[in-house]
């Protein structure tokens, strides 16, 4: 079981086709700078390497192989065409420091993507460099901080986030040297306005919100929230995690958000790659645009070029070695071209249709939506509290059993304020048949939970491994093979 690549290693074996002409370096480097023993990398043949990693791949669930309704992650189809577009030789072989005179192709793509993202978010300017959602959030928090400092408003040190918010929001506030404060969420999943009024004040730097919220419902009183925050002198930050729900339909800029990030690996269908890379472009209104990071792409009479710190003196500065995850930006651009404006509107339409349909099917079957009187957005939450109480089978057990039925589990235990929670996001690219099959699997597992609970509690049964002991993993930490 779980033979690692190091177990297959034999001294002196190698993938000979990968050799290069070795240069003699003995006289070129001082002896005391040279390594005394070689690193312990695997010594295997090319076929062994190919077979090992191909077989590892086969142990993964993925969008290409399974329905993957992971709430808040937007696991939609990642078009192969967009992948191919970005994997062309001219893009792959471009050194990041190539002068702009010989980079007009990639710069044109990036400039046009900036414009598309400005339009779709309703912002004045977009910077593409942040490398993931969390870095986009950090960017926004730093911009908000810089704005207040520029206005000699040094007391604004608090970032307000809803209790239901993703952990990244408060963690980002800390990274930016700000203090996270929480605002309550009411029984319908909306931000509690009285709680908000109590927590905002002269110390408020800004408020971070997702809309639809992490409770998977649309924040209906967004206008009132915006007024309260702005009147208190704070700024409003939009976490773009759930943009798929409103793409091409309602824009954060029109909801009076001052600054926002997008998750291109969610809304714009770039591959998640087993945990990254992402891309988290940041957009801002006129007020905050001067603080966007560098570099940005500009268009002048002589062609496309970079805007660096010297042209953008108020910028919060550089956030990456070069200019972010260009390869991901190119995929998002290719996706945008294929969708066009109409395609984007259809994304939110059918993502919402699929979520509402699946929520309806599950409620008909007796499951309990967390907010039964609300519309689903692009996703919805159900609580398995009652099922857990009656059968002893928890949301985690349900999740593991779903794997045996050939479905990746939804997001479990998030948002935290919903007990035994499943956050289910089917996305627009799934067929009705797939949604029906998932609902049927949930119904079948519920039956198992009632009749044979141990079967579910011991799941999964048909995966490469049985349920893994995470406590042991921490207690006997084994993080390298040597």
């Amino acid at each position: 079981m779980a033979e690692t690549i190091f177990d297959k290693s034999r001294p002196t074996r190698r993938a000979v086709a990968q050799r290069v002409a070795e240069g003699a370096v003995q006289q070129l480097l001082p002896d005391h700078q040279v390594r005394s023993s070689p690193p312990m990398l695997p010594e295997v043949s090319e076929l062994q390497a190919v077979r090992h990693f191909t077989n590892l791949a086969r142990k993964n669930f993925s969008i290409d192989t399974h329905f993957y309704p992971l709430g808040s992650c937007t696991m939609k189809y990642n078009p192969r065409g967009a992948h191919r577009a970005a994997m062309q030789e001219g893009f792959l072989s471009r050194h990041p420091l190539t002068p702009t005179s010989h980079s007009q192709g990639v710069l044109a793509c990036l400039y046009e993507l900036q414009e598309i993202l400005q339009n779709v978010t309703g912002t004045a300017q977009v910077c593409l460099t942040p490398m993931a959602g969390a870095q986009g959030e950090l960017t926004g928090a730093l911009m908000i901080k810089a704005y207040h400092v520029d206005n000699n408003d040094y007391e604004r040190t608090e970032i307000i986030v809803p209790t239901a918010a993703h952990g990244t929001n408060p963690a980002t506030a800390s990274m930016a040297g700000l203090i996270a404060k929480e605002v309550e969420v009411d029984a319908d999943g909306d931000v509690d306005l009285d709680s908000l009024k109590r927590v905002v004040g002269p110390k408020t730097a800004g408020v971070m919100l997702t809309n639809p919220s992490t409770c998977a419902v649309f924040e209906r009183r967004i206008q009132a929230i915006s007024d309260i925050v702005h009147e208190a002198g704070g700024l409003l930050y939009y976490d773009g995690a759930n943009l798929n729900a409103i793409l091409g339909r309602a824009r954060p800029g029109d909801m009076q958000f001052d600054v926002l990030h997008l998750n291109l690996h969610k809304t714009f269908a770039t591959p998640h790659g087993g945990g990254g890379p992402g891309a988290g472009p940041v957009g801002a209104n006129e007020l905050l645009a001067p603080y966007l990071p560098t570099p940005m792409v500009t268009k002048t009479e002589s062609g496309y070029g970079w805007l660096e710190q010297s042209e953008r003196p108020n910028s919060i500065g550089r956030l990456s070695s070069f200019m972010g995850n260009v390869g991901i930006l190119l995929r998002a651009y290719a996706y945008s071209l294929m969708l066009g404006a109409n395609g984007m509107r259809n994304v939110s339409a059918y993502a919402t249709l699929n979520a509402n349909y699946l929520m309806k099917r599950l409620s008909i079957a007796g499951f309990h939506p967390a907010y039964p009187d609300r519309r689903a957005t692009h996703e919805f939450a159900i609580s398995l509290r009652q099922e857990a109480k009656e059968t002893g089978v928890t949301a985690m057990d349900f999740a593991k059993r779903l794997l045996d039925y050939g479905f990746h589990a939804p997001t479990t235990y998030f948002p935290l304020l919903i007990p035994e929670c499943f956050l289910i996001e089917p996305t627009e690219t799934e067929t009705k048949e797939e949604l029906d099959a998932f609902a049927d699997a949930m119904i079948a597992i519920l039956k198992e939970a009632q009749q044979e609970p141990e079967l579910v509690k011991q799941a999964p049964h048909q995966q490469p491994v049985g349920r893994l002991d995470e406590v042991q993993a921490v207690r006997h930490l084994d993080v390298t093979a040597h």
Partner: protein, 445 residues
Amino acid sequence: MPFIPHTHADKASMLETLGIASIEDLFDEIPERIQCADLSDIPDGVSEMAMLRHMADRARQDESGTCFLGAGCYDHFIPAAVWDIASRGEFLTAYTPYQAEASQGTLQLVYEFQTMLASLTAMEVANASVYDGASALAEAILMAIRINRKSKSKRVLIPASLNPSYIATVQSIVTHQGIKLDLMPTLDGLTPISDIDFENAAAVVLQHPNFFGLLEDADSLTTNAHDADALVIGVVNPMTLAILKPPGDWGDTGADIVCGDGQPLGIPMASGGPSFGFLCTRMAQVRQLPGRIAGRTQDKNGNDGFVLTLQAREQHIRRAKATSNICTNQGLLVTAATIYMTLLGPQGLHDVASACVHNTHWLVDRLTELPNVSMRFAAPYFHECVLDFGEPTEALQQRMLNNGILPGYPLTGLIDNGSQAMLVCATETRTNQDIERYRQVLADG
């Protein structure tokens, strides 16, 4: 409707189940006033064929020639198997391995990656990667401040011989937490160790080889810093560690944190991203390491398996007290790098590294035979070198580019009298003919 599978019949049946007449009804909780998105700047959608034709034209525009540019991103050969396998849907389109039993491929691969990086750097543990080299250094500095309880200061020394975009990135990210960055000046391209005042420094950063390609005195720096209770953060190019002494062996005690950019390990240059940053440290500090970590454990039947471990450090559990706000690693790039390191093995990586050293020295030898060209610094260098060209590099660069050669990285404003200097690099992919052609075009003037 691109990528949306619904037939008319599907839609009708779903609407019927929902008891509504139109999909628009599902948006009735959104105030009408904000349902006004005007997408007039976004063109109509096109077919995959038309999109690919357009993107192919754009890509072709940027094929600029033979690359002698380095400066943090390197033109290495990537075996065909690397991206053939990394692009498999099961790696490409999986999410973070939160459901471990359905993600054993990614988790085992990350575990193998951690093993390889720990061995290359001679450290005890590596994380599953962060965004890139520059942001890895920012995380390393934040980590060092958390670890070093002996030092009451939040003062961190960074060398002027560090990659300038790393300096800029670190300034953007870490100074918001009260950290003070002090620049250590260079002398003849190197950091003069004996001149450093370690007093009240929590940590000291050293890039080795440094931005100018030169070999620093990492041994003395490490020993002296540790004598003064300052932690040592090494910034390294992982490919060079096939030959060079790894940071874990620097000085008497070895570096405390090692970071860098993994691009040389099978990642295309691709305009500089996506790449990945790595972070390695001692086991004693593992709980201060940010980012994901895979660990080996057992399933309920006693079989080995892999999980994400030590998650109590991370933002989704610790919220405002997490080690970092980072959620992602650069999983796909780590996949490619792990396959690359496996295909090359210790000997293959050593051959690549020595070919880089050899080719760059040959390039420098041939160019400095020309009357106007000279080396700026005398210290031993690895696979990058600063050359003075005896003429302003702006015009020179355009002339070379017009002949299909990317001649190097102009150092105007980055070193004294830098307007005639460039940082040049010749990896294993540069042939003798490439080098002779560089020399010829340069000599022709």
